[in-house]
């Protein structure tokens, strides 16, 4: 069984690499990306590949795959720095489909198929302590400071608090009371918006899940988003290592390739170590038992925390290996670095996650070292 999953994952990785490499060479995509942090052409290619529906259960009409098979795709997304809210669709959107009633499920499925786009309005993306929008009666109010690509969204998937527990609500972005304000983004591959909900009318069909069901869905979503971000960071680290090794072989100073200087060799070796460990960590975390939420939560927190630390160290070393050229806007590294800085703070910055892990370890009398799978 494990081998079957690994084969499938490997196949997905190969296809993802192939599609994304083709997109890298596509002139329309390049042109669109020069104009801004999004490419409609690339996004439709991704939707067409079926990646966004991979996690939708078979009963709900999807592929019924797991994070384990999705992980290599997300890693490739990081490696190629494909802009767009891939994880919001492939994880949050896909996990919500089976919970949603028919009409909401159909609206969600449409966004996963590339008809329209979804934004995830969940304050936990910024901080575990941030307050959620409140659902009172049939009105939703509140907001979220930083939502990826909300300006392009046709649907908003909102994590809210209802009178008796959490609720997950699907809103069309044009509804009265929804305001999306674009914010300037210093990450050239991300668009950020503030979303405000002011007494937005919510119908029964819009409520994807409530109370216990919503709590379970949000828990799985948060863990899935963390694993997804960790995978993207692993892809970023892997790419930074690859181009740094290539550059170190080709750039010459003092009459020889800079990669022959031991000081640089040791930096590159450490990058290789961290990148390797990170790749394996993402793989194991993505294979964590989704049926045992404690294990998945733990794996997701640890993987995201390690990813932020390792990828940052790898990419900062890559900047050093490249010297002055890395500091220019023409060189691709700055995009990787700024996107990494964004991802480090997305779904819990490293300090928040370390604190969460540490508090769990110190507080409970539970298993200190739970098996992940």
């Amino acid at each position: 069984m494990a081998a079957l999953h690994d084969d499938l994952a490997a196949e997905f990785a190969a296809t993802a690499e192939e599609i994304l490499s083709r997109l890298d060479r596509n002139r329309t995509v390049t042109g669109e990306l020069e104009a801004g942090p999004f490419s409609a052409t690339a996004w439709s290619a991704v939707a067409e590949a079926g990646w966004l529906e991979a996690l939708v259960t078979e009963e709900a009409g999807g592929l019924g795959l797991g994070l384990r098979e999705l992980a290599p795709i997300l890693t490739a997304v990081g490696r190629h720095l494909l802009p767009g809210p891939v994880a919001e669709h492939a994880v949050a959107g896909a996990l919500a489909v089976p919970a949603a009633a028919d009409s909401a499920a159909a609206r969600l499925r449409a966004t996963l198929a590339g008809e329209g786009m979804l934004a995830l309005v969940d304050p936990a993306a910024a901080s575990p302590a941030a307050a959620r929008p409140r659902l009172a009666g049939d009105e939703l109010s509140g907001g979220c400071e930083l939502v990826r690509f909300a300006g392009r969204a046709s649907e908003l998937l909102v994590a809210a608090d209802g009178p008796d527990g959490p609720a997950v609500v699907l809103l069309d972005a044009g509804r009265d009371g929804v305001a999306v304000a674009a914010r300037e983004s210093l990450d050239p591959t991300t668009e950020l918006s503030a979303v405000t909900l002011d007494g937005v009318a919510v119908g029964a069909d819009d409520v994807v899940a409530a109370n216990d069901v919503a709590a379970e869905l949000l828990r799985a979503t948060h863990a899935g988003m963390r694993v997804a971000v960790a995978c993207e960071l692993a892809g970023i680290a892997d790419h930074a290592l690859t181009i740094s090794v290539a550059y170190a072989k080709e750039r010459e100073q003092f009459g020889r390739p800079i990669g022959s200087f031991q000081a640089l060799q040791h930096i590159l070796a450490e990058m290789a170590r961290e990148s390797f460990a990170l790749g394996r960590t993402c793989r194991e975390a993505a294979a964590a038992d989704a049926g045992a939420p404690d294990r998945l939560d733990d794996a997701a927190l640890a993987a995201k925390a390690y990813a932020a630390r390792a990828a940052r160290s790898v990419v900062e070393s890559a900047l050093q290996v490249h010297g002055g050229i890395a500091f220019t806007i023409e060189h691709e590294l700055h995009r990787y670095y700024t996107h990494l800085l964004f991802l480090d703070g997305f779904w819990g910055d490293r300090r928040d996650l370390h604190a969460a892990l540490g508090r769990r370890l110190l507080a409970g009398d539970g298993d200190v070292w739970p098996a992940w799978s």
């Binding site: 060799q265 170590r273 604190a355 969460a356 892990l357 540490g358």
Partner: protein, 393 residues
């Protein structure tokens, strides 16, 4: 002794069987005193061997169980879960033994491997010399062939467990005219041979785990040569690969156990004092260390896959060794930090942590980036053999 019934090959069943056996076993609690600890762990290895819980990846005809390295790691995990120590003869089991298994003659394997597994014969590794550390290929210990014997003269240093060992895998220069790497042979030397003198060296932990070993005209039969004359360098790289990969796997389990102990100590202290064991800052550090240790565990799974697939030695051994040393040093450094000012008081306990135990662990951890080839040497190996960077001059 009749060989015990074979453990199940299916990994889940194997784990269950190991857990059941360990639950009923008389698991030793290793004393802090070096000699007592060594004796207790040697008995423990014998117990494991007699019950058939050792040598999983080794062929049955040489006393092993004909399973895989994956079984070995599952058993190591179960040892840790049962709070049981690892067996004592690690140089034999994880370092020199796999090289004998891979490169020895059938006669050598039949003679040497069963007692190596049972702990009846312990091994040491005589590679480093006073003037040949990182630059191992410059070693000077001589092996002169006289008829059917090799006569060894020279000095080894930092030889771990030489005093307790029955055999030493010695690198000796048998062809002084060949280029550095080519003139070296790998000789298996019985430690009771006349002409060997072992002088223990006390380490900063207080233990005398390593030694100086002097060879003065020590005669061993040519049949004790492993892999033929001049094969020493290649076999030494094989042995060091095992030390960096396999040994790192086992050491990781010990680190995991130590981390669980660390958390248990902090939790007990918190429960006993009715408060927060340590400040928020420590919770953040503990969480960070946990994430790093889990990454190390994930990396170790790749090592198991590699060993099962026969992909050893490999530059990835060096990646494993680096992660082992870095992570282990972070683990113990945090423990020492949590001890605060009590850290140097051997019999003190602070925040639920026994100072002497953690300080000794911390001191030992500092050697992780030196033994088996220093961290700098590992990074150079990764750079040149894995990343294929031009050789540094």
């Amino acid at each position: 002794m009749n060989p015990p019934a074979a453990p199940p090959a299916d990994l889940d069943e194997f784990r269950a069987a190991a857990r059941a056996w360990l639950a009923g076993a008389d698991v030793p609690d290793p004393p802090e005193d070096y000699d007592e600890r060594f004796a207790a762990l040697r008995d423990w290895q014998r117990t494991l061997y007699e019950a058939g819980w050792i040598g999983f990846g080794w062929p049955e005809e040489f006393g092993g169980r004909g399973l895989t390295a994956a079984h070995q790691i599952v058993f190591s995990e179960e040892l840790a879960r049962a709070r049981a120590p690892q067996p004592v003869g690690l140089i034999g089991l994880d370092v020199v033994g796999p090289t004998i298994l891979g490169h020895g003659t059938d006669e050598q394997r039949r003679r040497l491997l069963p007692p190596l597994l049972s702990g009846e014969e312990l091994w040491s590794q005589g590679f480093s010399e006073p003037s040949a550390g990182s630059d191992l290929a410059s070693l000077r210990t001589k092996g002169v062939v006289e008829g059917e014997e090799i006569v060894i003269t020279g000095q080894k240093v930092w030889t771990s467990w030489a005093e307790e060992s029955d055999w030493c895998a010695v690198l000796a220069r048998t062809d002084p005219d060949a280029p550095n790497h080519k003139g070296i042979s790998y000789v298996l030397v019985p430690m009771d041979s006349p002409g060997i003198e072992v002088r223990p060296i006390v380490q900063m932990t207080g233990d005398a785990e390593f030694n100086e070993v002097f060879f003065d005209g020590v005669r061993v039969p040519v049949g004790n040569l492993l892999g033929g004359f001049g094969a020493g360098w290649k076999l030494a790289m094989d042995t060091l690969g095992h030390e960096r990969g396999r040994y790192a796997l086992r050491r990781r389990m010990e680190n995991e156990t130590s981390f669980v102990d660390l958390v248990a100590g902090l939790r007990e202290h918190a429960a006993a004092t009715g408060g927060n064991a340590v400040a928020d800052r420590a919770a953040v550090q503990l969480g960070e260390l946990y994430a790093e240790l889990r990454a190390y565990e994930c990396q170790a799974r790749a090592t198991v896959e590699r060993i099962v697939a026969g992909d050893v030695p490999s530059p990835l051994d060096s990646i494993d060794k680096l992660t082992l040393s870095v992570t282990e040093q972070h683990l113990y450094a945090l423990a020492v930090e949590l001890l605060g000012p009590a850290r140097m008081a051997a019999d003190a306990t602070a925040n639920g942590l026994p100072a002497g135990h953690w300080l000794r662990g911390h001191l030992y951890a500092r050697s992780g980036s030196v033994y088996g080839g220093s961290a700098q040497i590992q990074r150079s190996i990764v750079a040149e053999r894995m990343l294929d960077l031009p050789r540094s001059r």
